[in-house]
C-alpha cells in the first residue's frame, strides 16, 4: 500500500532538510505554513496523505484538473462546481499558495517511499498490543495508557512517513503539546509527565506514574525541566522492516473508531 525509504525520511524531517525539497522555489517557511493551512482547511476531507477522496488524490503530485500551481490556487479558492470541493474563498491567495507548496512537498516525499514491504494492519495491531508494548504509554479508544499521546485518530492526523519517523527517530520532533516535563519539588520528589498547561505561577501535568492530572505551585517546585529526549524508545532495531510496516499500517488505519 505504501513504501518507505528510511534514510531519506530521516533527512526529510530533520531541520532544514525540507529546504532541499522546495519545489519551484518554495521555501521551508512556505511549506511549514502550508502544512498548517492544510491541517486547518483540507485535512478533514482529504486526509493526511491527501488520498482520502475517491478520484481526487492530491497527495502524489498529479492533479486531474490543474496543470500549474496557479491552477491549484484557483481550485482551492474557487472550488469545483457540482462536486464536494466547495469554494474556500476564506483562504487568502497567499495561504492557498502555501498549501500548494505543501502539496508539492508531500508529493516528493510520497514518491520516495519504496523500501519497506506492504504492511498488514491486523498484524500491526497485534504488535501494538503485544511485542511493541505500545499500550504501556499510548491509548487507542478505551485501551492503553494516557501518559503518551492518544493515538485513536492518529491516522487522520499524521502521514505514514511521519509515523515511521516517530517510530525510528522519536527524538527528532516532539510536538509541543506532547512535551515531557520533569519536576522536582522542594521536598525532593521527582515527577515526570506530559505537560498539560503552565503559567507564571502554576504547572499542570499528567503524572506518568498514575495518569492523574496534577497541579503544582511554582513556589513549591525546586526544578522544572523539559526533557529533550522522548520517553519513547526507537524501534529501528527492535522491529524488522516487515514489523515496522505492519505497525505503521495499523496506526494509519486509526481514524477515530472507539475500539478498533
Amino acid at each position: 500500500m505504501w513504501r518507505v525509504r528510511v534514510c531519506l525520511l530521516i533527512s526529510i524531517f530533520s531541520g532544514g532538510a525540507l529546504w532541499s525539497l522546495a519545489q519551484r522555489g518554495y521555501t521551508q517557511s512556505e511549506i511549514e505554513t502550508g502544512a498548517q493551512q492544510y491541517a486547518a482547511n483540507c485535512l478533514r476531507c482529504h486526509g493526511p496523505e491527501g488520498d482520502n477522496v475517491a478520484d481526487a488524490d492530491i497527495g502524489h503530485g498529479k492533479f486531474r484538473r490543474a496543470s500549474t500551481d496557479a491552477d491549484l490556487v484557483r481550485l482551492i479558492r474557487n472550488g469545483i462546481p457540482n462536486s464536494t470541493m466547495a469554494a474556500m474563498n476564506n483562504i487568502s491567495e497567499q495561504n492557498a499558495q502555501t498549501i500548494v507548496a505543501y502539496l508539492r512537498s508531500i508529493a516528493s516525499t510520497a514518491a520516495a517511499l519504496s523500501a519497506l514491504p506492504n504492511g498488514n494492519a491486523d498484524r500491526g495491531k497485534a504488535l501494538f498490543e503485544g511485542k511493541g508494548t505500545c499500550t504501556n504509554c499510548h491509548r487507542v479508544g478505551a485501551n492503553g495508557s494516557r501518559v503518551g499521546p492518544d493515538l485513536t485518530m492518529i491516522g487522520t492526523q499524521r502521514r505514514t512517513v511521519e509515523l515511521h519517523r516517530s517510530l525510528v527517530e522519536p527524538d527528532v520532533e516532539i510536538v509541543p503539546t506532547n512535551r515531557t516535563l520533569k519536576i522536582v519539588t522542594r521536598d525532593g520528589s521527582t515527577i515526570t509527565g506530559r505537560l498539560l498547561n503552565q503559567d507564571s505561577f502554576t504547572i499542570q501535568l499528567l503524572d506518568a506514574k498514575d495518569e492523574r492530572p496534577k497541579s503544582f505551585s511554582r513556589s513549591d517546585v525546586r526544578e522544572v525541566e523539559f526533557l529533550t529526549k522522548s520517553p519513547m524508545p526507537s524501534y529501528k532495531d527492535k522491529l524488522s522492516n516487515q514489523e515496522l510496516a505492519d505497525l505503521i499500517s495499523y496506526l494509519a488505519s486509526l481514524k477515530g473508531q472507539a475500539n478498533p
Partner: protein, 545 residues
C-alpha cells in the same frame, strides 16, 4: 464642624448635578482629583500613575474582589473605563457604552450601537474607551463614526461619519478631549487608507481641523513618498491609540502607524513620513509643530502607535520636558517634547534590524535585514517588543514600565499586493518562528526560549533595565503605578497582580480567569480606593478588606 462639612458636601453635589460634570478645567487639573479617572490614560501626561495610596505594598495582600460586571460581548475587552464622581463608564466591544455604579457595579444605563456591516477593523472588533467633556461622552466606532452620548441618560446626542468603513477606515481608540475639541485618529493601515488625526467640535460634531499623517502634494514631507506615484494616497500611517497633551506647550502628541503595504516597500520608496513617527500638533489648529520618525521606511509593521508618555525630569543636570516612548520596533526613546529633539535610544528587547542611531537619532539599519520572498528572521517580531499596551511612568520611583515581549521574532515574508479599495494591503506576511500551537487559547506549552512576556522597568535616563517580572506567556496588558510604589498589571494567563514598583517583587495576585488585554486603573469613592481591570469579558473591581 461636621455639620458644615455635610452642608458643603451637599452643596458640592448639587452643583455637580446642576452644572456640567466635567468641564475642561477639571480635565487639565485631573491630577488634583485622583479619586476620578477622567481620560483614557488617567490624565493628559498619560503616565498611568495615581497618587491614591490607601493600598500599599504592605496591605495589598488584603485586596478582595468587590464586584464583577459581565458584558454581553464576546469580543476582546480592551477598554479602560472613565470614572467620574462615582460613575464608571466603559465600552462593551464593539460599541455599546455602559454606565455603572462604581461602588457596586450595578448598571445605570446602556447605550447600544450596532456598527455598519461594512466595518472591517483588521484585528478585532474592539474599543479602547471613551472621552468625556461636560455631560457628554464621546465614542469612536469601528465603522468610523464619532458618537456623542449624554452621560446622565445614555441618549445619543449626535453621530457623525468620520471616514468610509468600506475603504477600510475604522476607529478603535478612546478619543482625547482638549478644550472644546474631541480628537480622534483613524485605523485601517492594513487596508491602504490614508491616515489622519482630526479635531471635532464637542458640541456639534463638526470637524474643526484635520492633519493627514501622509502629507499631500506641496506639503513638507510629501517628498518622502515616490514622485509620480499614488502610493501616498493609500500608504496607511493609521492612528489607533490615544495621544497625550501638554497644556503648557499647547501641543498634542500622537503615535502614527506603519506605512502600507506593510511588508513590501518597493512601491513606496523613501522614508514615508509620517508613518512610524510621533507628531506634535497645535491642539487648536492641528498644524504640525514637530515630528520624530522612529522607523523610516518601515517594512516590519512596526506601528508607532504606542502611548507617548510625558514626564518632566532632570536631564543631564537641567530640567527638561521629555517624552518617554517604548516603541514596537524594540527601542526605548527619550525625546524633548518641546522640540522633538532625540535625546536617547536604546533597545529594551533583542533587536537585529538596527545597530543604533546617528547623531540626529536616525536608526542605523543593518544591511539585508529586510523582508524577502524566502523570509527574514527579525527581532522583535511582528507584534513588537511592545505594542499598544499602556506603559506607565512613576515620578515616585523614576522608572518607566513597559509590557514587553522578550525573545520574540517573526519571519518576514515579502509579496506583491496590489492596492484595491477596502481589501487587505499587506505586501506579505509575518510568520511564527517558533512551533505554532505552543500557545493555544487556554493552554501554554512554550519554553522560555520560544518567547515570553515581562514587565520591564527601565531607567529613563539610560534606558537600562532595572528589573523585570517574567511571565510564562506573553502579555497584552497595560500597567498602572501608584504613589505607594505599587504596580498593577496582568497578562494572557488570566492573572491580575500587584508588584513592588521598586524591585518587581510579586506582592499579590488574583486569577481572573480570562486574559487581561486592557490597562488597569484606580479610583476612590467614599474613602475607599478601588482598582479596576477588564479581563476576559468582564470588569473586575478590587478594594481592601
Amino acid at each position: 464642624m461636621i455639620r458644615r462639612g455635610v452642608y458643603i458636601g451637599v452643596f458640592m453635589t448639587c452643583c455637580m448635578l446642576l452644572d456640567a460634570q466635567v468641564p475642561y478645567d477639571r480635565i487639565v487639573r485631573s491630577t488634583q482629583e485622583p479619586q476620578n479617572w477622567l481620560t483614557h490614560s488617567g490624565n493628559y501626561n498619560s503616565q498611568r500613575y495615581s497618587t491614591l495610596s490607601q493600598i500599599t505594598t504592605e496591605n495589598v495582600k488584603n485586596l478582595e474582589l468587590r464586584w464583577i460586571f459581565q458584558t454581553r460581548s464576546l469580543e476582546k475587552f480592551e477598554a479602560t473605563p472613565l470614572v467620574v464622581d462615582g460613575i464608571l463608564y466603559t465600552v462593551e466591544a464593539p460599541n455599546n457604552v455602559v454606565a455603572l455604579d462604581a461602588a457596586t457595579g450595578r448598571v445605570f444605563w446602556t447605550f447600544t450601537y450596532t456598527p455598519a456591516e461594512a466595518s472591517r477593523p483588521c484585528c478585532g472588533r474592539v474599543n479602547r474607551g471613551l472621552a468625556i467633556l461636560g455631560d457628554t461622552l464621546f465614542m469612536a466606532t469601528i465603522d468610523a463614526r464619532l458618537i456623542a452620548v449624554d452621560a446622565k441618560s445614555g441618549k445619543e446626542l449626535w453621530n457623525v461619519a468620520v471616514a468610509k468603513p468600506e475603504s477600510g477606515y475604522a476607529m478603535t481608540l478612546a478619543p482625547l478631549v482638549v478644550k472644546d475639541k474631541v480628537i480622534i485618529g483613524t485605523a485601517g493601515g492594513e487596508y491602504g487608507i490614508r491616515g489622519f488625526i482630526a479635531g471635532f467640535d464637542a458640541r456639534t460634531g463638526k470637524e474643526a481641523w484635520r492633519f493627514y499623517t501622509i502629507p499631500g502634494p506641496g506639503e513638507p514631507g510629501h517628498e518622502t513618498w515616490p514622485a509620480n506615484s499614488d502610493s501616498w494616497q493609500h500608504g496607511g500611517a493609521s492612528v489607533w491609540v490615544t495621544g497625550s497633551y501638554d497644556p503648557d506647550l499647547n501641543l498634542t502628541y500622537w503615535g502614527i502607524g506603519n506605512p502600507g503595504p506593510d511588508r513590501n516597500g518597493d512601491e513606496r520608496t523613501g522614508d514615508n513620513l509620517y508613518s512610524c513617527s510621533v507628531v506634535a500638533l497645535d491642539v487648536d489648529t492641528g498644524k504640525l509643530k514637530w515630528y520624530y520618525q522612529f522607523s523610516p521606511h518601515d517594512e516590519f509593521d512596526f506601528d508607532s502607535t504606542q502611548v507617548p508618555v510625558l514626564a518632566d525630569m532632570e536631564w543631564q543636570g537641567a530640567p527638561r520636558k521629555t517624552m518617554l516612548f517604548a516603541n514596537r520596533n524594540g527601542f526605548f526613546y527619550v525625546l524633548d517634547r518641546a522640540t522633538g529633539q532625540f535625546l536617547l535610544g536604546k533597545p529594551f528587547v533583542e533587536v537585529n534590524w538596527a545597530t543604533g542611531f546617528d547623531a540626529k537619532g536616525r536608526p542605523q539599519r543593518i544591511p539585508g535585514m529586510v523582508p524577502t520572498e524566502q523570509g527574514t528572521l527579525i527581532l522583535p517580531g511582528n507584534q513588537g517588543g511592545t505594542n499598544w499596551y499602556n506603559p506607565s511612568y512613576s515620578p515616585k520611583t523614576g522608572l518607566f514600565y513597559v509590557p514587553t515581549w522578550a525573545n520574540y521574532s517573526s519571519l518576514y515574508v515579502k509579496a506583491v499586493t496590489p492596492y484595491e479599495e477596502g481589501k487587505t494591503f499587506n505586501g506579505g506576511t509575518a510568520r511564527a518562528t517558533t512551533p505554532n500551537g505552543i500557545r493555544t487559547a487556554l493552554n501554554n506549552f512554550a519554553k522560555e526560549d520560544e518567547g515570553y512576556g515581562a514587565i520591564r522597568a527601565l531607567d529613563p535616563h539610560t534606558g537600562e533595565m532595572k528589573w523585570q517580572f517574567k511571565m510564562t506567556d506573553v502579555t497584552d496588558a497595560g500597567i498602572l503605578t501608584t504613589a505607594s510604589n505599587l504596580l498593577f498589571s496582568g497578562g494572557r494567563e488570566g492573572y491580575f497582580y500587584a508588584l513592588d514598583a521598586t524591585d518587581g517583587k510579586l506582592l499579590w495576585k488574583f486569577p481572573v480567569g480570562g486574559r487581561v488585554i486592557s490597562g488597569p486603573m484606580t479610583y476612590a469613592l467614599n474613602g475607599t480606593q478601588y482598582v479596576e481591570v477588564a479581563a476576559g469579558n468582564s470588569v473586575f473591581v478590587f478594594a481592601l478588606k
